[in-house]
Chain length 115, copies 6
């Protein structure tokens, strides 16, 4: 199992575990999470870039990976991605750098897998 | 002086004061701040929405105002704006709500002034 | 209008403004916010104290006020409140202190109004 | 050594190392940490849930584990725990989700070990 | 009453109010706060600059004011202060800027009062 | 490869990867990062302690490691280091503790390697 598969296996297994408990608040928020990134007044791609940027400045590496996967699936190219991440680097400062390293590493894995 | 003018007068006056001290790091970061939102691989509008979203989840009301002004100048419409902010609300949770209230208030002032 | 009325008037007016736009994500999260603090496996009072503690460490003064009002309405006494806030002070450090000052000030207003 | 033992072994070893240096501020804060969760105006269980909620929204996985152990020792049941965590999820937003996954995983280990 | 006096009057009044309740955790943390910045292995001035830098990146304007007063009392000069703040600006990113504006404004008041 | 070498190898490799993309904002911020800690109005040692303190309260373990290495290279002694970290512990609260554990562990490795 490569790093991408590992991340997704853990994510799926534990999300299923969390939803098992049937807490209404939890279930609805998980639900909204799939709804919020649908095509709307803004294109899907812009929304995923927003999700990525928000996750980066909040320094949530797993959230970043999740949005990187969606960006890759929507064919965001590396130039677009880097520009979005540069905004977060400027806004969030150099404490972003370790998170950028992980983001780049995951992005390269996603792009390599695509070929 | 209305609320928009007040915000900008204070902002300009104090930014000038900060730059007066000629600190290299400070000057370069202020400089980058105007560069990062230029047209590039991503359109200006997307970048400003990214700046807005990043500022919202980091809960910086003054940064939000700054990007709301840029969004308004770029003719982002209210539907687009609300969708961008809804992503930040979901990602950042209900502690976003007080910041949303201030953002909406400022947006309505900006839109009213436009007419 | 006293400080409590002022806070609530602004809050109600702007929440109504936000909900006017009919964004699905926003509406559902506002909805959940009233649902999450209902009696359940945990008593209402514990849940409001949790909401208060979460808001304090995240340093959201307006969220703190909101939960202080709910705590006051549920007859949380000052000893209970102070213990809950002392946990947040320890966990969140001395940057909590300015937020504690505002919380105490608002709590005293709420208690005075009760009499 | 299982994951629970590993976490506690590292924790104990490094805490001892930190206290070795005899810094007054550090020692007192470590001391307060054991005092703040004693029975008082609020029951121990409520205080541990507060510690858990605070740690979750501040996204400190190791702090979450620490309070999960205390909750488990105090016989907090899963329904109570999930309700407390659902408040933090709502207040803190979807960036809580990766931390919820880890919290659930650790909770299940604790509950399994209990039997 | 000028802005400096106003800040200190509110601070003193509310700190006294908080300590009135005699919560052990709260009292000890307030106590530590005066102890932590004493001369030690590091000079007082370095410690106050550390307090300032920590407060800036955590974006606590009132904490920043408090440490600016201490820095001013210890005759930190503007060059030293600006360098310390430039580190925080770089580490914390452009969301620091609104906090820098307030810090500069307060510093100028403190320096003017000194003459 | 020991833990220090591992950290630095990953850091160097991924920083090079990030800079490869030639994004202007990213390159300039990386550049500033080496400039900001130069001798100036404040001695290098004070600046590195500021970088360390800022990184600690922002809870960026990799940033902490980076500044610990610089502190070690500048012959900051353990007493000075512990005092600087105690300020961050007080300001940032007990959620600092897991980060202190990692910081101490890395510091001990650095000091052991020095001999």
């Amino acid at each position: 199992m490569n790093k991408i598969e590992e991340f997704n296996a853990y994510r799926s297994r534990m999300n299923a575990r969390i939803l098992e408990d049937n807490n209404k608040i939890v279930k609805r928020i998980f639900n909204l999470d799939t709804n919020a990134f649908m095509e709307g007044a803004l294109p899907k791609k812009t929304k995923e870039l927003l999700g990525l940027g928000n996750s980066l400045v909040l320094r949530c590496d797993d959230c970043v990976k999740y949005h990187l996967e969606a960006c890759s699936a929507l064919n965001v190219n590396t130039d677009e991605l880097v520009e979005a991440m540069s905004v977060s680097l400027l806004v969030g400062g150099t404490i972003m750098i370790p998170h950028l390293r992980k983001a780049y590493e995951y992005w390269d894995l996603l792009e390599a897998q695509k070929k």
